[in-house]
């Protein structure tokens, strides 16, 4: 503790120290301006004490000396910063307000299964999309009714020398503090899904489902896309038989491979929340990946 600050309450002392630190870096910064009547004298006393403590010459204005004084002020400021940094970040993460490269990632085995032998490449793209997205969208815990909660979506465009093969990777998952569990990862190609670039990422997923989704029934509703569902029981998804027409034009059941994907999170209240529920026609999706040269 700097003795020049000993007579001040911690809040005033922290302010004095912070403004002194800013003045050392840039005395033109408006936030460095003195607030108390005798603040310039106090600031001088703080700096004199630090110069003495560091065994520096107060007349030396070289950048190396300024740096050492600035470091010392920064270290002194630390004693006024309360709270556990990690805990603060966890709380911010609940709101989706932390930088995405701080998330601890897990990726659902279903996602890995989807990309099979290209998984080693796909995994890198997922990490790149989360850590350095073109666009990201986060939903906190207390959003409006009907909005997803604790869900994050990311999108990144991956250009190819062959424009036909360029795609946007759409990644989505559920959060618990700084943990992010990725359960969805889709390649969105321009010739499959019409996008203007102005859609939010929920709308991108919805449009993806328009093309690759199958209708399903969940808790009495029939849809291709269920935005969110708060339920004490887990969401039950039932996919009705897919029908088509045979060579004679008769309606027949078709065998279709599909995957049902839901982002499941638990709210602070303990309530289970299911979001972004979709059922993707894997035959159609894999055909698109093959057509665009991804699975080759």
């Amino acid at each position: 503790m700097i003795s020049a600050l000993a007579d001040f309450d911690p809040a005033t002392a922290a302010g004095l120290l912070a403004r002194a630190a800013l003045a050392v870096e840039d005395d033109g910064n408006p936030q460095a301006q003195a607030v108390l009547p005798d603040e310039m004298d106090i600031r001088r006393a703080i700096l004199d004490e630090l110069f003495q403590k560091l065994d520096l010459d107060p007349r030396d204005t070289s950048s190396a000396v300024v740096e050492r004084v600035s470091d010392a002020l920064d270290a002194e400021l630390d004693s006024f910063v309360g709270g556990d940094t990690q805990q603060v970040l966890e709380q911010m993460a609940q709101r989706g307000a932390v930088p995405s490269d701080l998330f601890r990632l897990t990726i659902s085995p279903d996602v890995q299964q989807l990309y099979q032998k290209k998984w080693h490449v796909q995994e890198k793209l997922i990490l790149e999309t989360i850590q350095d997205p073109d666009r990201e969208q986060h939903f906190g815990e207390s959003e409006e009714a009907g909005q997803p909660a604790l869900v994050s979506l990311f999108a990144k465009f991956f250009p190819s020398p062959f424009p036909f093969r360029s795609f946007t990777l759409l990644v989505a998952g559920g959060r618990a503090g700084l943990n992010l569990d990725i359960s969805q990862c889709w390649h969105v190609y321009a010739d499959d899904v019409r996008l203007t670039g102005r859609e939010d990422l929920i709308e991108v997923l919805r449009r993806f489902c328009d093309v690759f989704g199958l209708e399903f029934e969940a808790n009495g509703r029939r849809t291709k896309f269920l935005l969110t569902q708060q339920a004490s029981n887990s969401l039950n998804i039932h996919v009705p038989p897919v029908t088509g027409f045979d060579a004679r034009g008769r309606k027949v059941e078709k065998e279709v491979k599909y995957t049902a994907v839901v982002v499941r999170v638990t709210a602070a209240t303990g309530e289970a929340i299911s979001s972004l529920a979709i059922v993707v026609n894997l035959d159609r999706y894999r055909a698109s990946l093959e057509k665009h040269g991804w699975l080759n």
Binding site: G15, A18, R19, L22, P30, Q31, T85, V88
Partner: protein, 165 residues
């Protein structure tokens, strides 16, 4: 020759903190030249220090983030500045204790992406009155060349762009 546009290179987190906690009112060091380093010898721009040259700041930040340079002097300096700013704003009562803790936790975190550079592109004609653009006194400049500040820049007055090298 100085053009109709001002430039300011900053880490992305500077813009984010200002938008989240300062009602979008930016304090920005600005420059009439994007790249003072290519100015003709003898011109005012040629006398601007590299540490005040938007292109140099942008490239240095980009490189430090790209290489995840844990000893980056620029990032270390920004960390100290934002911590001090958070404490000063809290002392002034313009942010809450929780908000100050959030700013400090973010800048002390291991995130690299928060330090990626962004460029503010500011049409001079939009800064009304023009006296809002302050010329920095010689003693406070990094070198002899002109350096400018705007203390109350609002989002409607500039564009924020990111470009990859």
């Amino acid at each position: 020759m100085a053009g109709p546009v001002l430039y300011s290179a900053n880490p992305w987190i500077a813009h984010d903190i200002t938008m989240r906690y300062r009602d979008g009112v930016h304090f920005a060091w600005v420059c009439e030249y994007f790249d003072a380093g290519t100015a003709p010898a003898g011109s005012a721009a040629a006398a601007i220090a590299p540490s005040s040259n938007p292109k140099h700041i942008y490239e240095t930040l980009w490189s430090d983030v790209d290489k995840e340079d844990a000893h980056s002097a620029l990032i270390k300096g920004y960390r100290k500045t934002f911590k001090a700013l958070a404490m000063a704003w809290k002392a002034a009562g313009s942010i809450t204790d929780d908000q100050a803790k959030e700013i400090i936790a973010t800048v002390k975190s291991n995130s690299w992406k928060i330090w990626r550079p962004v460029l503010y592109v500011i049409p001079k004609s939009g800064i009304v009155p023009a006296t809002r653009i302050h010329s920095v006194a010689h003693g406070a400049r990094a070198a002899y060349g002109p350096e400018l500040q705007i203390q109350d820049l609002v989002p409607a007055e500039f564009d924020v762009i990111e470009f990859r090298k």
